[in-house]
C-alpha cells in the first residue's frame, strides 16, 4: 500500500540523533505507567493469566504496539547501498518564525522548530500527521493563504476576550484543517502565549480513559486524562507559568484550600501528586490563567466535533453518557461556548470529517451554517444543551483545494525528501493534482505516494 522509498531511513537518522527527546520513538499512549497509589484502569484478563507479566502492564504493552504500528527502521539496520544512508539531505527549509509569516511567504514550506518543550512533542499529534512526520526528514508544513488569515485572527484575538474569538476550522476531508491548527499552535507558542492542545478529542469520548462519578460536580470525571493534560501543560508552558500566581482562594476536595498568591506551578503540582485532584486542579488552573492578562491563552482542540457527539461511555443503566456530563469535554465545551473565557486569547477547534464514529452533529452543523447531508427540518430532534454549547462559534473555512503554488511546494517537499516512487516531473504533478482535484490528502497519499509511473 505505502511505498516507502528512501524516506524510512531518513527518519531513522533523526531518531538516532535525538533518541532521548524525539517523540517519534517514545510511546504516545495516553495511559502512562501507573504509579503506586494511583487509579489504574483494570486490564481485561483471560482465564489463564499470562505468567511473568504484572496485570497493570499488560494493557500498556498492547497500546505500545498499537502506537508503534508504523515505525521506521534505524539506519544501522539499513546497510544496503540502495538505502543511500550516506547521502546528505536535499530538503533545505527555512524555520517557522512568527515574524516572517506574511503574504510574501505564502505557498512556501517551512520546517517546525526542534525544541525540548515543543508543543507537538509533548501534547502529541493527530494520527495522520504523526505518520507523515515520521516519513518526512523534518516536520514541516506549507504556509497557505488561509494560514495568514488564521494568524491575523490570532493577532486580533491576543488583546480580546476569548469569548469573541471562538473559531472552528471547517472544510472537506483532507483539506488541511489539522495542519492549520498545528501552524496556529506553533505561532502562538512562538509568540509567548499559553497553549493547551488536545490533538485527539475523540479519546475523551471513546471510553479509552478511566471515568468515575463525582458527587460534588455530579459529572463523570476523567482523572487520568486530566492528570496527563496538566503534566503536558506544565512541561510546555513552564517558563510562562512560573511568572503567574493565583488570584483567589481555590478549594480542592479532601485538602485544605490553596491560598491566593500561590505560584501556578505549585497548584499544578498538587494535581500531579494525586490523580484524583487532577480534574479540579485543571479547572482551577484554566480559570486562573483566564483571569490574568499577561499572557494570552490558546485552547486548540482537534476532532472538535467529538465533543458534541454522544460518548461511548455507559452509565449503570447502560445508556450512553452525554459528552457534557464528562469532565474534560465539559470543560472544553464551556470554553468553546463562551460560558468560561480567558481574558486574553482564543479557542480554536478543527473538525474531522473523516471520522465515522464521531460524525458532525446537526447542532454544530447549524451553528457553523454548513451544508446538510441529512434531514434537518424542524421535526428533527436537536439537543438544547448542545445548541447552547455551539452558540456563537465562528467558522473559518479552509479551501477545499490547494492552489497551484501551494501544491507545488508540497510536491517539492516530498520530492526532495525522495519519498515519491515515480519520476518527479511536472507531468506527474499536474496529473496527480488533477486526479485529486487539489485536495491535499488525496494529492499526497493517493497520488504521489501510492502510485508508480515510469
Amino acid at each position: 500500500m505505502l511505498t516507502l522509498s528512501v524516506r524510512c531511513q531518513r527518519v531513522s537518522c533523526q531518531l538516532l540523533a535525538s533518541s532521548s527527546t524525539s517523540p517519534l520513538a517514545q510511546t504516545r499512549s495516553y495511559a502512562t505507567q501507573p504509579k503506586k497509589g494511583q487509579i489504574v484502569k483494570q486490564a481485561s484478563q483471560g482465564f489463564k493469566g499470562k505468567k511473568n507479566t504484572p496485570s497493570g502492564q499488560m494493557e500498556h504493552a498492547k497500546k505500545d504496539k498499537k502506537m508503534m504500528a508504523f515505525q521506521p527502521l534505524p539506519a544501522s539496520q539499513l546497510p544496503h547501498p540502495l538505502f543511500e544512508s550516506d547521502c546528505p539531505d536535499t530538503l533545505a527549509l527555512q524555520s517557522f518564525h512568527p515574524e516572517m509569516l506574511t503574504r510574501v511567504v505564502e505557498s512556501q514550506a517551512l520546517k517546525f522548530p526542534h525544541n525540548e518543550n515543543d508543543p507537538f512533542r509533548i501534547f502529541g499529534l493527530p494520527r495522520n500527521i504523526l505518520v507523515e512526520f515520521r516519513l518526512l526528514s523534518k516536520p514541516c508544513s506549507v504556509i497557505r493563504s488561509v494560514t495568514i488569515d488564521a494568524i491575523s485572527k490570532l493577532d486580533a484575538a491576543s488583546d480580546k476576550n476569548s469569548k469573541e474569538s471562538r473559531v472552528v476550522l471547517t472544510g472537506p476531508q483532507g483539506c488541511g484543517k489539522s495542519y492549520l491548527l498545528l501552524q496556529a499552535l506553533q505561532y502562538c507558542n512562538a509568540r509567548d502565549w499559553l497553549v493547551l492542545y488536545i490533538p485527539r478529542a475523540t479519546n475523551l469520548v471513546n471510553s479509552t480513559t478511566a471515568y468515575t462519578y463525582d458527587m460534588r460536580t455530579r459529572t463523570y470525571s476523567q482523572p487520568i486524562f486530566a492528570y496527563q493534560t496538566l503534566q503536558r501543560f506544565l512541561k510546555v508552558n513552564a517558563p510562562r507559568l512560573e511568572q503567574l500566581r493565583t488570584q483567589t482562594e481555590i478549594e480542592i476536595e479532601r485538602r485544605p484550600p490553596v491560598p491566593p498568591g500561590t505560584p501556578l506551578v505549585e497548584l499544578i503540582n498538587i494535581g500531579l501528586k494525586d490523580q484524583g485532584h487532577a480534574p479540579t486542579v485543571l479547572g482551577a488552573v484554566l480559570e486562573e490563567i483566564g483571569k490574568q492578562t499577561i499572557f494570552p491563552v490558546l485552547l486548540a482542540v482537534d476532532d472538535f466535533q467529538a465533543l458534541y457527539c454522544k460518548s461511548h461511555y455507559r452509565d449503570q443503566h447502560f445508556s450512553a453518557i452525554k459528552s457534557y456530563h464528562l469532565s474534560m469535554p465539559r470543560l472544553l465545551l464551556e470554553y468553546a461556548s463562551g460560558q468560561k473565557s480567558f481574558a486574553r486569547g482564543a479557542v480554536f477547534g478543527a473538525l474531522s470529517m473523516s471520522n465515522t464514529t464521531f460524525p458532525l452533529p446537526l447542532e454544530l452543523r447549524e451553528a457553523l451554517s454548513l451544508e446538510h447531508d441529512r434531514p434537518y427540518g424542524s421535526y428533527v430532534k436537536r439537543q438544547p444543551e448542545l445548541v447552547e454549547y455551539a452558540h456563537g462559534l465562528e467558522r473559518l473555512a479552509v479551501p477545499a483545494s490547494l492552489s497551484v503554488p501551494e501544491a507545488a511546494s508540497v510536491f517539492e517537499v516530498w520530492m526532495k525528501d525522495r519519498a515519491v516512487p515515480s519520476k518527479p516531473n511536472d507531468e506527474l504533478f499536474l496529473a496527480k493534482y488533477s486526479e485529486a482535484s487539489g485536495n491535499a490528502r488525496a494529492f499526497v497519499w493517493k497520488g504521489l505516494l501510492s502510485s508508480m509511473s515510469a
Binding site: 472537506p172 477545499a400 483545494s401 497551484v404 507545488a408 507531468e427 499536474l430 496529473a431 493534482y433 488533477s434 486526479e435 485529486a436 482535484s437 487539489g438 485536495n439 488525496a442 493517493k446 497520488g447 501510492s450 502510485s451
Partner: protein
C-alpha cells in the same frame, strides 16, 4: 319539283376520282401558291419509342444513353478513354446512392420492373464513372454537365447513407465546447470539453513601468541564482474535471478510476489545457470511469486532430466491446461449470 334530282350542271361529275395521276403543273407557276401540308389523319409519333410498351421509359432511357454517349465521346476526344487499369484503380471507389425503384418509376413516369430499374441504374453508374474520371482529370464543364444529370437521380439522403458506419465529425458550439459520448459496459457518459481560458494579465501595466531585462541580464541571473530564476511568474493552468457536478476526487475515490479518467489527457500531453464536464449514468464505478475516459479521448481528438493518432494507438478511441457474458444452460455461470461427478 324533284328535290332529290341532282342539278343538271352536276350530273356530269363523278364523286370518285378516276384519274390516277395528277395533272402536270410546271414548278415556276407554283411559286406564288401557298400549299398547306395535307393533314395526316394519323399524327406522326413524337418519339421513336412510340410503338414500344413503355414509351416514356424508353425515351428517358434513350436520352440517358445519348448523354452517356456524348460524355464518352468527349472523354475519348480528351484521350481519357479507354482508361488503363492502373488509372481505373486510382479512382476513388464510389458507392452510389440512387433512388429506389418506386421513386425512379415516379421520376420516369412509368412503373418499373426490377430488370428495367437495373438497366437504368447501369447507365447511371457508367455516367457516374465518367463523371469521376472528368473530375479527376479536372474537366470542370463536363463534370458539371454529367453532375446535372446524375443529381436528379440521387437519393435525398445520399450523404447520410454514404456516411453510414463512418464516424461523424464532432461539432463545436459557439463557446468552442465539444460534446462527445463515451461508453463502457453499461455506462454512458456525455462529455463537454472546453479550452481553459487564461485570465488577462492584471499586472500588465505594472510590469510595463519596469524596464525590460536584456538577454545578458537574464543569463547572468540564471547563472548566479538558478533556482529562483527558473521559476517563471506565469500562472500554471490546471484542468478542472467535474463528473456529475462533483469534483473528480469526490466522485471516484479509488485512485485507479481517477487515473483511468486522466490517462487520455496525460498521453495527449494536454494536462491543464482543457476543462472537462461530464454527466455519466449507468453501471458501476469502473464502468463509469471507463465511459468518461472514452468520451474525453474522443473530445480531445476533436479539439486537437494531431493527438488523435496517439490516442488511437493507445486504443483509447475504441469503445471497449467487452460486455458481461450471458449465463448458459448447463453451466453455473458464463464459463463456470458445475462440479464434475464421476458417477
Amino acid at each position: 319539283m324533284n328535290v332529290l334530282r341532282r342539278p343538271s350542271g352536276l350530273s356530269k361529275f363523278r364523286f370518285y376520282s378516276t384519274q390516277t395521276t395528277r395533272p402536270f403543273v410546271p414548278p415556276a407557276s407554283l411559286n406564288h401558291f401557298d400549299f398547306r401540308q395535307r393533314q395526316r389523319e394519323k399524327p406522326r409519333p413524337t418519339s421513336p419509342a412510340f410503338y414500344t410498351a413503355r414509351p416514356e421509359f424508353y425515351d428517358q432511357l434513350s436520352s440517358l444513353e445519348s448523354a452517356l454517349q456524348h460524355a464518352k465521346t468527349a472523354l475519348t476526344s480528351c484521350h481519357l478513354l479507354p482508361l488503363p487499369q492502373f488509372a481505373r484503380e486510382a479512382l476513388p471507389p464510389r458507392v452510389n446512392a440512387w433512388v429506389d425503384k418506386r421513386e425512379l418509376g415516379l421520376k420516369l413516369r412509368s412503373t418499373l420492373t426490377t430488370s428495367r430499374y437495373r438497366r437504368v441504374v447501369l447507365v447511371l453508374n457508367e455516367l457516374e464513372t465518367y463523371r469521376a474520371i472528368a473530375e479527376k482529370a479536372g474537366i470542370a464543364e463536363l463534370q458539371e454537365g454529367i453532375r446535372g444529370i446524375t443529381e436528379l437521380f440521387e437519393r435525398a439522403d445520399a450523404a447520410t447513407m454514404l456516411a453510414r458506419g463512418k464516424a461523424k465529425p464532432v461539432k463545436f458550439d459557439e463557446y468552442g465546447r465539444s460534446y462527445t459520448l463515451g461508453k463502457r459496459k453499461t455506462s454512458s457518459a456525455r462529455v463537454w470539453i472546453v479550452p481553459v481560458q487564461q485570465p488577462p494579465a492584471d499586472k500588465s501595466t505594472a510590469s510595463q513601468s519596469i524596464p525590460a531585462a536584456t538577454e545578458t541580464d537574464t543569463a547572468l541571473t540564471a547563472l548566479l541564482d538558478p533556482i529562483s530564476s527558473s521559476k517563471s511568474n506565469e500562472p500554471v493552468s490546471v484542468s478542472q474535471i467535474l463528473v456529475n457536478n462533483t469534483p473528480l476526487s469526490t466522485y471516484f475515490p479509488i485512485p485507479a478510476d481517477r487515473a483511468r479518467v486522466i490517462h487520455p489527457i496525460k498521453l495527449a500531453g494536454l494536462l491543464g489545457a482543457y476543462n472537462i464536464f461530464a454527466i455519466v449514468r449507468g453501471g458501476g464505478t469502473s464502468g463509469q470511469s471507463g465511459a468518461v475516459a472514452h468520451g474525453i479521448a474522443k473530445g480531445l481528438a476533436a479539439h486537437e486532430p494531431a493527438v488523435a493518432t496517439i490516442l488511437r494507438k493507445a486504443k483509447l478511441l475504441r469503445r471497449d466491446p467487452r460486455m458481461v457474458e450471458r449465463k448458459k444452460p448447463g453451466l453455473a455461470k458464463a464459463r463456470k461449470r458445475y462440479a464434475w461427478v464421476k458417477r
